[in-house]
Structure formats: structure tokens, C-alpha cells
Symmetry: C2
Subunit: 207 residues, 2 copies
Amino acid sequence: MSAPVPDASRRSSRARDAILAAARELVASDGYRGLSIEGIAARAGVGKQTIYRWWPSKGAVVLDAVLALSEGPDAEVELPDTGDLRADLRTVVRATVDELADPSFEAPLRALYAAMITDADLTAAYRRRVADPVDSAKERRLRSARDAGHLAPDTDLGLLRELLFAPIVQRWLLATGPLDHAFADALVENALLVARAPASTEAETAS
Amino acid sequence: MSAPVPDASRRSSRARDAILAAARELVASDGYRGLSIEGIAARAGVGKQTIYRWWPSKGAVVLDAVLALSEGPDAEVELPDTGDLRADLRTVVRATVDELADPSFEAPLRALYAAMITDADLTAAYRRRVADPVDSAKERRLRSARDAGHLAPDTDLGLLRELLFAPIVQRWLLATGPLDHAFADALVENALLVARAPASTEAETAS
DNA sequence: TGTTCAACGAGACGGTGCGTCTCGTCAACC
DNA sequence: GGTTGACGAGACGCACCGTCTCGTTGAACA
């Protein structure tokens, strides 16, 4: 009944790296539609069983491939905190927009979303390994601003984060509008407007 | 080279209805993963060719199935406009949340999103037939409020619409938080805060 | 250094759904 | 009443699925 758990200490890192690289290359050239386990195995020079041994689904392979794009180790995310909230938010939100416009990020990430929509387990894994750490970092930065008096004391940091980033993902998924710095800046200005400290002009940055 | 366009005047509406109903039933019971053209054809009592004759892809069938859920004819969408912006927005945003929580809507819509993410043609068709009309209706309601002085004259109606609804879709897709009326109301309050008319207390509803 | 043993590359296997095709049937229009 | 094209049905070759065996290999431990 229980799975015959393989011995991770004997795992070939060469095979793992080749599989993730092959997945990235194939999804970039053929899209998620043309991505198959057999194709990944062939391109990586690996037996199919080596993939099935370590990953539960094609989507899980893609998740690891996406993670391998932006990590050394499982480094924890940290956002810039120069004290200038507007500038820091612009940096981060613009970077998000740029990342989604970069084909080498866009292709595997789109594939990952396609898999997640119909795979609740994969969605949970994505939240745990990607979304939660990133969201925490964003909220740390916002909390720092709130503590410094740059945001109203009763600001809902989670909601503010969603207002900053959800419209970006929405435009990206359905191509309902341009994904550029102007849009990023508009979202930042909106966030500052929503949650600005009530009686302060002092702490606000001028830019 | 050109497609041998079938004769629409001879199309069987019985077959069309049976196909869309079968697609809805199967996606509700088995999810999008288990949805196949062969399964739809078998359930509908229809030849596979009848599906391929009229739809370019499985996702296109699902799009029509979703559309058939909420239409008589291609009725144009109209939102409530009682003059009370807060109340009207709550109604609409809460209804959106409720719809995404209703399994009979949720299942085919999730299937449609899964298909759209990897199918730009289908995404364009969805925008044209669903998203654009709905978005226009939303912006008409917001414009009416702006004209009535309930929103600041320089309010970006499109951005406001995205701030109201994108966070909902985001939570729905990745299950990153509860989709309830409290969340809907928070989004409405945020929108009213962002775009409130500068010097007016008069026109605002009290609720 | 040698032994061990599970992960490895390779690929056969039955199963499923794909998209195309070819039938005979049927109903609408001429 | 003849023509015609959509219809239901299903055969076909193909791609990929997930499971299963093979030898082979190389890392861990004695």
C-alpha cells in the first residue's frame, strides 16, 4: 500500500539536472502542449522510470524546473528596503512585470499555471515553495513601511499585496492589457493612495 | 488549403445541445483531466466527427458550454444601477464570488481557464465573447457613478475594475485565501476609498 | 579495496485518447 | 422523388501514458 520510497542518498544529481534542463528547453520550444514525459526523458538521456521515481506528475517536474531558474540553494526571498516605499515598490512591481515578459521565465511559468489549475496538490506545493515565501517577503516590506508611518496603521497588508500584484497576473494570464512599467507604476500609485498615512505629508517620498 | 466550411443551415441543434450538455456533465463529474472528445461524443450519442466539424478544440467546446450556462440569446450584460454605488458594487462583487464558489459554474470555468492558458486563440475568443462584454458593463456602471460625482473625475475606470475583480480570480485560481462576502466587501470598500470624490460627503451612501 | 544493492538507461507492453477517414442513414431543399 | 451534405458509428495509425522488466553502474559502507 505504502509507496516504496526511493533512497535519496543514491540519487543521481546529473540525471536530475538533465531532466529539469530538458523540461525547460522543451517547454520553451514546443510550449506546454507539446511537453511529454517521454520527450523529457529522451532529451535528457534518461529512462522514463527515473522521472516517475522522483516526481508524481509532469507539473511537478515543471515546478522544480521553475524553482531551479531562480535559486542557488533555497535562499529566502528578501525585498529591497531603502526607506523609500514608493521607489522600492516600483522596483519590485516593475521587476515582476519584466519577469512575466521574459520568454525564458514566461514559458515554464505558464506551463506551471496550466498544470496547477487542474491539480490541487501541485497548487499546494507551489504555494508552499513559491507563493508563501514571496508573499511573506512582500508583506514584511509593507509592514516595515507601516511601522515607519508611511502607511496607515490599520492597513490590511495582505489585501494591499493582492491589489498590487493580482492585476498583473490577471493581465498576464488572459492578455487583457499591456504589461509594462506604466501599468506597474499605476498599481504602485494606487497602493500608496489606498493606504497612505492619514495626516502625514512629512514621511512621504517626493519622487 | 482553405477549410471545407460546413453548411451551418443544416446543422443539427439537437446534436449541438447534447454535446454542450455532455461536456458540462462530464467536466462536473470527472474534472477537466478526465474530459475527452471521445467521452463527450459517447455521452452525447454523437459521432466524433460532429464535434470536430463544428469546434476547433476541446477548449472551444467548453467555452460554448460555459456560455450556454448563462444565456438565453446573446443577451448583453447589464449591471444594476440604483444610484447607490456601494450597494450595487457589493451586489455584483458578491455575486462574482458566489458564482466561483458554485460547483456547477466552477468546474467548466476552471476547465476553460486550463485550456486558455495554453491556447491564445481560445483566450481571444473568450475575451471577445465573455470578458469584453462583461468588462464593458462594469465600466458603464462605474462611469455612471463618476458622472454622478460619486467617483473622482480623473478615476481610471479600467484600473478600478481590475482592482475590484482581479484579486478574486487570483484567489480562485490558486486558492490563496477565502472567497467570501467579507473579501468581496473589502474589495468594494477599497475601490470606494481609492476613487472617492475629493470634496464630497453629500453624494456618498451611508449604509 | 571490495562488496553490495538500489538507482540508472533502455525499452517492451497494454491501454487510452487523439485526429482523420470512410461507411450507410436520414432529412431538408430543389 | 432526387440530390446532397450533416449525421451516428466506428476503424485506423499514431503519440503518449504509466508500469514493468532487463542488464549496467556507481555511490555508500565495511
